[in-house]
């Protein structure tokens, strides 16, 4: 009997080369960090049951799930708006999976496992906004897109979910991006091209924040 190994392989495994990229000499203006092996469940209210879902979600997560383009941090997950009457539950370590969420939410909602359907990239650095302006048509000015904002939008003609989590300790904004897995390598190269002139620091991480 063959010995099967079921190693998980990130869609960016091939493209991501940790270290410096692009312009050198000064501090990298952009840092790109891929977060690997996360759980991502899409929760969609069933017809006419948005209110029931809101209640059930509040009970499950302790905070209200977003009903507008926002990202909400719970103790062990991030709830990200993904469309009318629907949101993502992003977590690590099996805390919120289809199995664990179904009992609480599957009455008023349909659940869909998207854990493998996306790659997750964090973007930070002093030039993060100017770099993102090459990719994103939405306004990321600090007052327009404050901490906790989210958007279902497109970059480079590719659908993405973008949100702004808590700032780094040094005060720099952090943008998080979910991109479809099969587009991830392509968008990654586009991001590197956009960021190269500012200098890029590339890494990957197993932690959400």
């Amino acid at each position: 009997m063959a010995d099967f190994s079921w190693g998980s392989r990130s869609p960016l495994e091939h493209a991501l080369v940790a270290g410096a990229h692009g312009a050198r000499g000064t501090e990298a203006g952009v840092s790109l960090t891929e977060i690997r092996d996360f759980d991502l469940i899409q929760v969609m209210a069933r017809r006419g049951q948005a209110a029931e879902l809101a209640k059930a979600a509040k009970a499950r997560f302790g905070v209200a799930a977003p009903n507008a383009p926002k990202a909400v941090q719970t103790s062990d997950a991030i709830l990200i708006w993904s469309g009318p009457d629907q949101f993502f539950v992003l977590s690590k370590g099996g805390k919120h999976t289809m199995q664990t969420l179904a009992p609480a939410l599957s009455g008023p909602a349909s659940l869909s496992d998207q854990s493998h359907a996306r790659a997750l990239i964090n973007i930070a650095g002093s030039k993060a906004r100017i770099m993102l302006a090459k990719l994103s048509s939405i306004d990321l000015h600090p007052e327009v897109f404050p901490i906790g904002s989210a958007a279902a939008t497109s970059m480079d003609h590719t659908s993405v979910t973008l949100w702004r989590g808590d700032d780094r300790p040094d005060g720099q904004a952090v943008f998080s991006l979910l991109v479809f897995a099969t587009f991830a390598e392509s968008l990654w190269h586009t991001m590197l091209d956009a960021a190269a002139e500012y200098g890029v620091e590339i890494s990957h991480s197993e932690e959400l924040a």
Binding site: A68, P69, S82, G83, P84, S137, I138, A151, A152, T153, S154, H157, S159
Partner: protein
């Protein structure tokens, strides 16, 4: 052109896909060939204020009903298209 998605806010044209006039209503089951022909093929093709179906496929995937002027491209209202193309079904 920028469309104010009722769910996402104002977004760039490139995020949306156009379908067409939102006025024709899909005939109910059992409708005649003439009625369905009219729905599928004939258009007022208004020069001026019109109501149209747009899809926010590059965003929240909502179908929208957009009131737009075909002479100026100015958009006066946007609402979710839910049910806009169907006669209210009796349940």
């Amino acid at each position: 052109m920028r469309i104010v998605c009722p769910f996402c806010g104002e977004r760039e044209l490139g995020e949306f896909t156009y379908l067409g006039d939102a006025k024709p209503v899909r005939p109910v089951a059992g409708a005649s060939e003439d009625e369905v022909f009219d729905y599928v093929y004939l258009r007022d093709n208004v020069a001026g204020e019109t109501s149209e179906h747009w899809y926010h496929g590059g965003g929240c995937r909502a179908w929208l009903k957009v009131a737009r002027n075909t002479l100026t491209h100015e958009i006066s209202a946007v609402e979710p298209a839910a049910g806009a193309g169907a006669r209210q079904a009796v349940k």
